[in-house]
């Protein structure tokens, strides 16, 4: 195998497809930390020159982790539609990019091609895309899923209401839930990150949120983002679970670090279909984020973008209601600053959509990353422009439990007003019915948590 390009008279040789993929990546501190990033800006482009000429078949045949030792690779490869694959396997990555962007290529055509894609192909084409390419490409792909609500329709953007509390106080979480609902947040899910992962505490939060949903007849679903085994136990004991949640990683070894396997996820998915209370059929909610495999030393010298793309291939097996890339949570040793965080958010959204997933983004940062709320607001706008399915809603964007900053209740109302986007249809009708939303904006009654004390 020869993988060589020449630029300005300089010859660049690459030892493997994995090396080409890693060096073609936009700069990421995680890839630098792993020692696999391009050593110069020129080498980065030289790698892209090679990548553009690689046929999709070579990417399938050279997965980041071998088929024999990794169940994530097996899940993705086994799911490839061979008929569609035989049509596209000879496409070069550079041509694949142009095909996605061509005005003659429709969203449905992309969705058909998607049935033959592996994570490495998705990652490969993403590395050749500029930020605007990622927006234009993703915008074409409408992925609609249904649980209680219908998420993903063009022209809508949803918000996960994240009413976390440092010690899981039921009353504190209820108060934050009321505040979020009063701003029109909560149509993607009312989803709590618990600090206590016990079955009893998680069940208590599931029951409280279900009670709020029932009392106010809110068209949405609830979720407590405990470990999936905890949620399975809650379900078995009769607790009201709307969506089943789990964080995923891009290799079997990294997933073992999360305490999960394909077998366990299969079991959870079957249990959700049997016991979750909403209509479905999409009952799962996954979270991802570049850098997780490296942090578990389970990246096999592959770059963090490629490992992320593989997560989407795994997620697709479960036809989830929504997938969320928690883009800036991991810290500056993986995504150093707002430039890298912005890029990763757009990449992940595009890759998820290309894989066939309803994609949200926790547009966020930690205090030791070089970012401020202004840059988070910028990415939120870019994400909405790309057709992103949902963002987070947290009181003033400051999570009182997880100590990071993300998008706020105000932000979801703002992005809808500024970009003429709507809440999810069932939820919008509900908001209008109770008088919090009219003609595409908040009414005078909105933004007041005590509104919800009347029932």
């Amino acid at each position: 195998m020869r993988l060589r390009s020449t630029m300005f008279g300089e010859v660049y040789d690459f030892g493997s497809i994995k090396e080409v993929l890693a060096k073609a990546n936009e700069p990421k501190s995680g890839d630098q930390q792993a020692g696999i990033a391009a050593r110069s800006a020129a080498e980065r482009v030289a790698a892209r020159e090679v990548l553009a000429e690689i046929p999709l078949s070579a990417l399938r045949e050279n997965p980041a982790v071998p088929y024999e030792i990794d169940e994530v690779t097996r899940v993705i490869d086994d799911a490839v539609n061979e008929t569609v694959y035989s049509e596209i396997k000879g496409w070069k990555v550079g041509d694949f990019r142009e095909w996605i962007l061509a005005n003659s290529t429709t969203g449905d055509m992309i969705k058909r091609a998607s049935t033959a894609l592996t994570g490495e192909m998705v990652a490969g084409v993403t590395k050749l895309m500029s930020n605007m390419d990622l927006i234009v490409g993703a915008k074409k792909i409408e992925i609609v899923k249904h649980c209680v609500n219908t998420i993903g329709r063009r022209g809508t953007i949803a918000s996960r209401l994240q009413p976390n509390h440092p010690t899981d106080s039921v009353e504190g979480i209820r108060a934050a839930t009321y505040e979020g609902l009063s701003f029109g947040s909560g149509d993607s899910v009312i989803g709590i990150n618990p600090s206590d992962d016990s079955v009893s505490s998680v069940s208590r939060l599931l029951e409280m949120t279900k009670e709020v949903i029932d009392t106010w007849e809110i068209p949405t679903q609830n979720c407590v983002l405990a470990h999936i085994t905890t949620q399975m136990e809650c379900l078995k004991r009769g607790a009201p679970v709307g969506l089943m949640f789990q964080s995923l990683a891009g290799s079997q070894k990294a997933n073992e670090g999360f305490g999960i396997s394909v077998g366990l996820l299969d079991e959870a998915s079957a249990l959700a279909k049997k016991h979750c209370w909403p209509a479905g059929p999409n009952y799962l909610y996954f979270e991802t984020g570049q850098g997780t495999a490296l942090s578990a030393d389970a990246h096999y010298d592959a770059d963090q973008l490629t490992m992320e793309a593989r997560i989407y291939g795994l997620a697709k097996r479960y036809d989830p209601y929504q997938v969320n890339t928690v883009v800036g949570f991991i810290g500056p040793e993986y995504l150093y600053d707002s430039v890298q965080i912005t890029r990763a958010g757009l990449e992940d959204h595009f890759m998820g959509k290309l894989t066939g997933l309803s994609m949200g983004c926790d547009v966020c940062y930690t205090n030791h990353a070089k970012a401020t709320q202004n840059e988070i607001e910028n990415l939120m706008v870019l994400f909405a422009a790309a057709g992103g399915s949902f963002i987070m809603g947290i009181p003033m964007g400051d999570d009182s439990m997880l100590s990071y900053q993300t998008t706020s209740f105000h932000d979801i109302a703002s992005i809808r007003q500024a970009m003429d986007l709507r809440p999810l249809p069932e939820f919008e009708a509900w908001l209008e019915g109770i008088g919090l939303w009219k003609d595409g904006q908040l009414t005078a009654a909105a933004g007041d948590a005590s509104f919800f004390l009347r029932r």
Binding site: N367, T372, P395, A449
Partner: protein
Amino acid sequence: MSDLETLVARVLAELRSSDAAGAGSAVGTTPTARPQQAATASGSDLDIDVPDPTGEAGRLRIGVANPVDADALGNLRRTTSARLAVGRAGPRPRTGSLLLFQADHAVTQDAIYGVVREETKAAHDLFSVTSQAEDRQTYLLRPDLGRRLSDAAKAEIDKRCKKGVDVQIVVGDGLSAAAIDNNLADILPVITQGLSSAGFSIGTPFFVTNCRVGVMNDINAIVRAKVLLLLIGERPGLGIADAMSAYMGYDPQPGKTDADRDLICMITRGGGTNPLEAGAYIVEVIKRMMKHQASGVRLREIVGEE
């Protein structure tokens, strides 16, 4: 009078009226209403003296205009430290809550990119060494380098420190210079006095710049103390930028991990464990380590067995 001046005067007037009304019960004026005219007519006799909005009263202040139930809203607000009942200006936050958020974030940035004051180190006779992370950017990008001592640091420690003592105390900047500047003077005397009264020998204390917790292993490979205590700045959260952690390990050596250490976190006068109390507690933990010659998971197993 400029719009900005009008705005500042209005915010000031609101803050004063909310102070008069008492914490948590004041209800904001309608933000969509036309800004009120300030009492002062020209810039020359402006007298602006904004009270500190970062205290509890400022944080609990209700910003919602005309709530359905103002008392109940105050009660909801007090159920959580989350920033609730802040109100809005159209879909955006009100000016006061926007600036309070910015104030909270600003002190985290100053803490992370700040440098521990020379006076702080001098007051406790701490000499300084640096990890293999030579500057702040490298430190943030490469946690592995912050866990290792540079060759110069190793030589300096070897030259200046007593060897084979019972307890070696090390101070590191970590992710918050403010944590060290604000807490060291309180916590260190309590620890040294407590350890001395317990009859333990104490090594030569020093300071590590661009320090991560794992550097404990490299340090003890040189000083060979029985117990190593590292006081280090935590990653600042919004609103609390000066929290310190105390990591303690029995016989730390290369290869030891967090499972081999004991930790007291959130040491700060601003809503965490008071540094004086934390110092006393640290002494108790070290006594236990010395008694059982163990730390971390192993120590908990031994203590659990008793």
